[in-house]
C-alpha cells in the first residue's frame, strides 16, 4: 500500500514539476505579456495541483491533508485574481507603442 | 564597572529610572489619542514632572554615591534587561530635562493650534515627537542592554527625522531623507555588532559583557561596526554630510534639541561602548583614528562655518566642529593614566556645555529669523540695538564655543589641553587652540555686524517676546556657569566608573 502511495507521489510531483518548468519556459520565451500570463497561470495551477495531489497520501492525518488542499485553493484564488488584474491593466494601457 | 552582584539587583530608588522613561511615553500615547491642542498641554504639563524625576535620580546617586539599578520584569540579565544610572547618566538626564522643556516653552509660539481648528498637523506632530525625543534620550542614558539601546536609537531616529521637515519645504524634505538614510545605515551597523557580541558571549548586558569581553577577532569586528554606525549618527567627519542641512532647516526649537541632545545620544553610546563595554580592548590605533577624525572635524567644520552666509547654517557647521572636540577624549582618557580622569571629565563637560550653548544659539537664531524674516549674516547690521537680549545670548553661547573663560567650554577645553600636554600628545592641544581661534572667527563674523551701528535702524517684522529671549539667555548662562563647576561635580561624574578606568590609583 505504502509503496503504491510513494510511487504515486513521485509520479505526481514529477509531472507537477514538469508543468512548472513548462510555465517558466513560457514566461521566458513567449512574445508578449498576455501569452506569458497564459503560460504562467495555466501551467502553475496544474503544476501545483499535481504536487498537492502527490503530497496528499503523505500528509499526516486529515488536518494535514485539509491544509494542503487549502494551500492549493488559496493559490488558485490569488492566481486567478492577479491574472485578471494584470490582464485588465494591460487592456487599459493599449495600444502599446 | 560595578561589582557584578550589585549591578544585577534593583537598588532603592531604582523605580525612578522606570518613571523617567515611561512618563514621556505616556505623554506620547495620550497626546495622540486626545489630540488637538491638548497635545501641547500634555507635553508642557509633563515637563516639570520629568525634570523633577531627573533631579531625584541625580540626588539619589549623589546621596548614596552609587549607581541606581532597576531590573525590568524581575528577570535578571542576561535573560532580562536592566536599567542603570551612573553619574554620567544622571548628568545627561538633567541636561535633557533642562533643554527639552526650554525648547518646548520656546516653541509654544511656533506650534500653536490655530484658533477655530481642533487639530493641526505641525503642532500635533511637534508635541508628540518632542516627547518621543525625550523618551528616547532617557532610554539611551539609562539602558543597560545593547539591544534595548538599539530600540532606543531607532526611537530617537523616528522622532528626530520628521521634526526636520515639519514645514514641508523641498530642501527640508531632502535634508530629512538624507538624515534618515544615514541614521538607518548607522543603526543597522550597530545592530550587526550587537549580533556578533551576543554570538560570542551570550549576553548583551553592558556590565556582564565588560566582565566577559576579551581581545578576539569577533570583538574587533563588532567594535568596528558599532562604532562606525554610531559615528554616522553622531555626524563625525567625514560622515557629517547630513547634519548641516538637517539642523539648519529644522524649526528653531527642533534644531536646538537636535544639535544639543540628539547627536549626543549616539555619542553617549560610543563612550559607553569604549569605556564600559570594551575596556579590555584599548587599542591605540582605534582611539587615534577617532581623535584624528575629531581633529579634522574641528578644522573642517570651523572653516566651513566661517564661509556660511546664513546664520543657522553657520551654527550647524559649528556643531560639526564642536563634535570633533568630543572625540579628542578617546586617546587621552583611555589607559588609566594620571591624566585620564581629567580628559574624561573634559570630554563630558564639553558634551554638557556644547548642549546648552548650542541650544541657546539656535533659539537665538530662530528669534532673529522670525523677527527679520531672514537670517542672512550680511544683513544683521544693527541687530544688537534691536534685539539686545538675543544677541547677548548668542554671544555668551559663542564664548563657550570659543573656549574663553569663564565658560563651560573653557573648562572643558582646558581639561583636554592639560591632558594632552601631560600625556605628551601635543598635536591635539594645537588643534584645540586652532579650533578656538577659528570659533572666535565665526562668532565674530556674526557679532561684529550685529553690534555695529547701522546707518538706518534695522527693520523688524514683528517684535519678539521677552520670555522667549529669556529662555535662550538662560540656556547660555548655564553654559557659562558650567565653567565654575566645583570639584564635587567631577567626583559626581565619576560615580559608577571603575577605579582602573578612571585613572585613580
Amino acid at each position: 500500500m505504502s509503496t503504491i502511495a510513494d510511487v504515486f507521489t513521485v509520479v505526481a510531483i514529477c509531472t507537477g514539476s514538469f508543468f512548472f518548468m513548462a510555465g517558466t519556459v513560457g514566461l521566458l520565451r513567449f512574445p508578449d505579456a498576455l501569452t506569458r500570463l497564459h503560460a504562467l497561470t495555466k501551467a502553475d495551477n496544474l503544476g501545483l495541483g499535481l504536487i498537492v495531489l502527490g503530497l496528499l497520501p503523505q500528509a499526516d492525518g486529515m488536518l494535514g491533508a485539509l491544509k494542503l488542499i487549502a494551500v492549493w485553493a488559496l493559490v488558485q484564488l490569488a492566481g486567478a485574481t492577479v491574472a485578471q488584474l494584470i490582464a485588465h491593466a494591460l487592456l487599459r494601457k493599449r495600444p502599446p507603442t | 564597572m560595578l561589582a557584578l552582584a550589585s549591578a544585577l539587583t534593583t537598588t532603592a530608588g531604582g523605580y525612578l529610572l522606570v518613571l523617567a522613561i515611561i512618563l514621556p511615553v505616556i505623554g506620547i500615547l495620550l497626546s495622540l489619542v486626545i489630540g488637538g491642542r491638548h497635545a501641547e498641554r500634555i507635553a508642557l504639563a509633563l515637563m516639570p514632572v520629568g525634570f523633577g524625576i531627573a533631579l531625584a535620580i541625580a540626588i539619589e546617586i549623589w546621596r548614596t554615591g552609587k549607581p541606581l539599578v532597576y531590573i525590568l520584569g524581575g528577570w535578571t540579565p542576561p535573560l532580562g534587561i536592566a536599567l542603570r544610572a551612573d553619574g554620567f547618566s544622571a548628568v545627561m538626564l538633567v541636561t535633557a530635562a533642562l533643554v527639552v522643556p526650554a525648547a518646548g516653552y520656546f516653541a509654544r509660539a511656533n506650534f500653536q493650534t490655530p484658533q477655530g481648528q481642533f487639530e493641526a498637523r505641525a503642532p500635533l506632530a511637534f508635541w508628540t515627537l518632542l516627547q518621543a525625543l525625550w523618551a528616547a534620550l532617557n532610554i539611551v542614558f539609562l539602558g543597560g542592554d545593547l539591544f534595548n539601546l538599539y530600540v532606543a536609537l531607532e526611537l530617537l531616529t523616528f522622532a528626530a527625522v520628521p521634526l526636520v521637515c515639519l514645514d514641508g519645504r523641498p530642501e527640508t524634505l531632502i535634508a530629512a531623507l538624507r538624515y534618515l538614510l544615514f541614521a538607518l545605515f548607522g543603526s543597522v551597523f550597530y545592530l550587526l555588532g550587537v549580533a556578533l557580541l551576543y554570538g560570542t558571549y551570550g549576553t548583551l548586558d553592558i556590565v556582564l559583557l565588560s566582565a566577559r569581553v576579551r581581545a578576539e577577532p569577533a570583538v574587533y569586528v563588532a567594535a568596528g561596526l558599532m562604532t562606525a554606525g554610531l559615528l554616522a549618527k553622531t555626524a563625525l567627519f567625514p560622515l557629517h554630510l547630513w547634519l548641516p542641512p538637517a539642523h539648519a532647516n529644522a524649526p528653531a526649537p527642533a534644531s536646538a534639541v537636535l544639535s544639543a541632545l540628539v547627536v549626543k545620544g549616539s555619542f553617549f553610546l560610543i563612550v559607553r561602548l569604549w569605556f564600559d563595554v570594551l575596556p579590555a580592548l584599548t587599542i591605540e590605533a582605534a582611539t587615534s583614528i577617532l581623535a584624528t577624525l575629531g581633529a579634522a572635524a574641528i578644522l573642517f567644520g570651523s572653516i566651513l562655518a566661517l564661509r556660511q552666509e546664513r546664520l543657522k547654517l553657520l551654527i550647524a557647521y559649528s556643531t560639526v566642529a564642536q563634535i570633533g572636540y568630543l572625540f579628542l577624549m578617546f586617546p587621552l582618557a583611555t589607559g588609566g593614566h594620571p591624566w585620564s580622569a581629567d580628559a574624561w571629565n573634559g570630554g563630558v563637560l564639553q558634551v554638557l556645555s556644547h548642549a546648552f550653548a548650542k541650544a541657546a544659539m539656535f533659539l537665538a537664531a530662530g528669534l532673529v529669523a522670525e523677527s527679520l524674516g531672514h537670517d542672512r549674516i550680511s544683513d544683521l547690521r544693527g541687530l544688537g540695538r534691536a534685539m539686545p537680549m538675543t544677541v547677548f545670548a548668542f554671544g555668551l553661547g559663542g564664548l563657550s564655543l570659543m573656549g574663553l573663560p569663564p565658560s563651560g567650554g573653557f573648562a572643558a577645553k582646558w581639561l583636554l589641553v592639560k591632558a594632552s600636554v601631560e600625556s605628551g600628545q601635543w598635536l591635539w592641544a594645537v588643534v584645540m587652540l586652532a579650533g578656538g581661534l577659528l570659533a572666535g572667527g565665526y562668532v565674530y563674523r556674526v557679532l561684529a555686524p550685529a553690534l555695529a551701528n547701522g546707518s538706518t535702524p534695522l527693520e523688524t517684522r514683528k517684535s519678539t517676546s521677552r520670555s522667549r529671549e529669556a529662555i535662550a539667555l538662560a540656556l547660555a548662562f548655564v553654559a557659562v556657569l558650567l565653567g565654575l563647576a566645583p570639584a564635587g561635580f567631577f567626583t559626581f561624574l565619576q560615580i559608577g566608573r571603575s577605579a582602573a578606568m578612571a585613572g585613580l590609583q
Binding site: 488584474l85 | 498637523r121 532610554i139 534595548n148
Partner: protein
C-alpha cells in the same frame, strides 16, 4: 553530500542571485518585484534554520507588507528614474565602494566561520523559566516577558512612524483619509478576492495570534495577516480608508502599547515591580496584552503602507 545539503546550497545560491538582481536591475520596479521573491526565499532559509516564527514574520512583514509598500512606490516613481541615473557615481568611486563592501563581507564571513559551535546561548535560561510564564513558545516568552521592555518600546516606534508619515501630509489634508480617491469603477476580480479571502484571513490571523502562546505564531504574525486583510478590502474599495482623526483609529493604534504599559505599571502594585506579572496570572495577562497588540499591529501596518492623508477632511 546529502540531498538536503545540496538543496541548502541551491537555496543559498538562489537567494544571492535574486538579491544581486535587486541591486543591478535597471528598473526600480523590476528590482522591487525581485525583492518580494527574495523575501519569500528568505523565509525558506528561516525555516531551514528552525526559526518558524521568524519565517512567518519575514514572509508576512519583510516580504508581504513591505512588498506592497515598495511596489506601489516604484509604480509612482517610474518617471523619476531616468534623471536619477545621471547622478551615478563614477567608476573609480564605485570600485572603491565595492572594495569596502567586499572587505566588510569578508570580515563577517571570517567571523561567522570562526564562531564557536555550539555557540553561546540563553536557551537553557529561557527554558528554565518558561513554566513561570505559562507559555509553550519560548519566543513569545522572550517578547512579552523576559524582554517585554523592548517589545513595548518597539510598539512606540511603530506609532512614531505613523505620526512621522502623517506629518508629511499637506496642511489642508490633515484630518482627511489616506490612500487614493475612491473611484467609481470597481475591479470586479479584486472585490471578489477580498470578499472571499477576508473572512478566511481574519480567522487565520486570529488563529495564529492565539496559538502563538504555545506554537509558532503570535501578535506580530497574526496582526500582519489581519493587516493584509484590511488592506485588501480597502484596495478593493469594499471599505473606505478611515480619517486619520477618527477616534477609533487613534485608540486602535495605541491600544497595544497602552495595555502593555498599564499592565506593566500595575506590576508595581500587584506583583514585584514594573513589567512583572503576578504568579499564576502570567499567561492570561500575556495573552491579554498580545490580543491588543495584534489589534494595534493590524491597524498600524496598513496606515504605514497607505501613506499620509491625501484628501481634505469631510466637513
Amino acid at each position: 553530500m546529502t540531498v538536503l545539503q545540496a538543496l541548502d546550497i541551491g537555496l543559498a545560491a538562489l537567494v544571492l542571485a535574486v538579491a544581486g538582481w535587486t541591486i543591478v536591475a535597471r528598473e526600480a520596479f523590476a528590482a522591487v518585484v525581485g525583492y518580494v521573491a527574495y523575501g519569500l526565499l528568505l523565509s525558506l532559509v528561516w525555516v531551514r534554520l528552525f526559526a518558524v516564527d521568524v519565517a512567518l514574520t519575514e514572509a508576512a512583514i519583510g516580504s508581504g507588507v513591505t512588498g506592497v509598500l515598495l511596489i506601489s512606490a516604484a509604480a509612482r516613481l517610474r518617471k523619476t528614474e531616468a534623471p536619477a541615473t545621471d547622478e551615478r557615481l563614477g567608476a573609480p568611486l564605485r570600485l572603491l565602494a565595492g572594495t569596502v563592501c567586499a572587505v566588510v563581507a569578508a570580515a563577517l564571513a571570517a567571523v561567522v566561520l570562526l564562531m564557536p559551535d555550539p555557540g553561546s546561548t540563553l536557551a537553557p535560561e529561557a527554558a528554565q523559566h518558561l513554566a513561570e510564564t505559562g507559555l509553550g513558545n519560548p519566543i513569545t516568552a522572550v517578547l512579552i516577558s523576559y524582554r517585554a521592555f523592548d517589545t513595548m518600546l518597539e510598539k512606540v516606534v511603530l506609532i512614531l512612524a505613523v505620526i512621522g508619515v502623517w506629518s508629511l501630509a499637506p496642511d489642508r489634508y490633515w484630518g482627511g483619509a489616506p490612500g487614493p480617491q475612491r473611484v467609481a469603477r470597481h475591479e470586479g476580480a479584486l472585490a471578489f478576492l477580498a470578499q472571499l479571502l477576508a473572512p478566511l484571513g481574519i480567522v487565520v490571523g486570529v488563529h495564529i495570534f492565539w496559538v502563538g502562546a504555545d506554537e509558532p505564531g503570535g501578535a506580530f504574525q497574526g496582526g500582519a495577516i489581519l493587516a493584509a486583510m484590511w488592506m485588501i478590502v480597502m484596495m478593493a474599495r469594499l471599505v473606505e480608508a478611515p480619517s486619520i482623526s477618527a477616534l477609533w483609529l487613534r485608540l486602535t493604534l495605541v491600544a497595544g502599547p497602552v495595555v502593555f504599559l498599564a499592565i506593566g505599571v500595575l506590576g508595581f502594585a500587584v506583583a514585584s515591580g514594573f513589567l512583572t506579572y503576578p504568579t499564576g496570572f502570567a499567561k492570561p495577562l500575556i495573552l491579554f496584552i498580545e490580543a491588543f497588540m495584534t489589534l494595534s499591529i493590524a491597524a498600524t501596518l496598513p496606515m504605514l503602507v497607505m501613506g499620509p492623508p491625501s484628501r481634505p477632511p469631510r466637513p
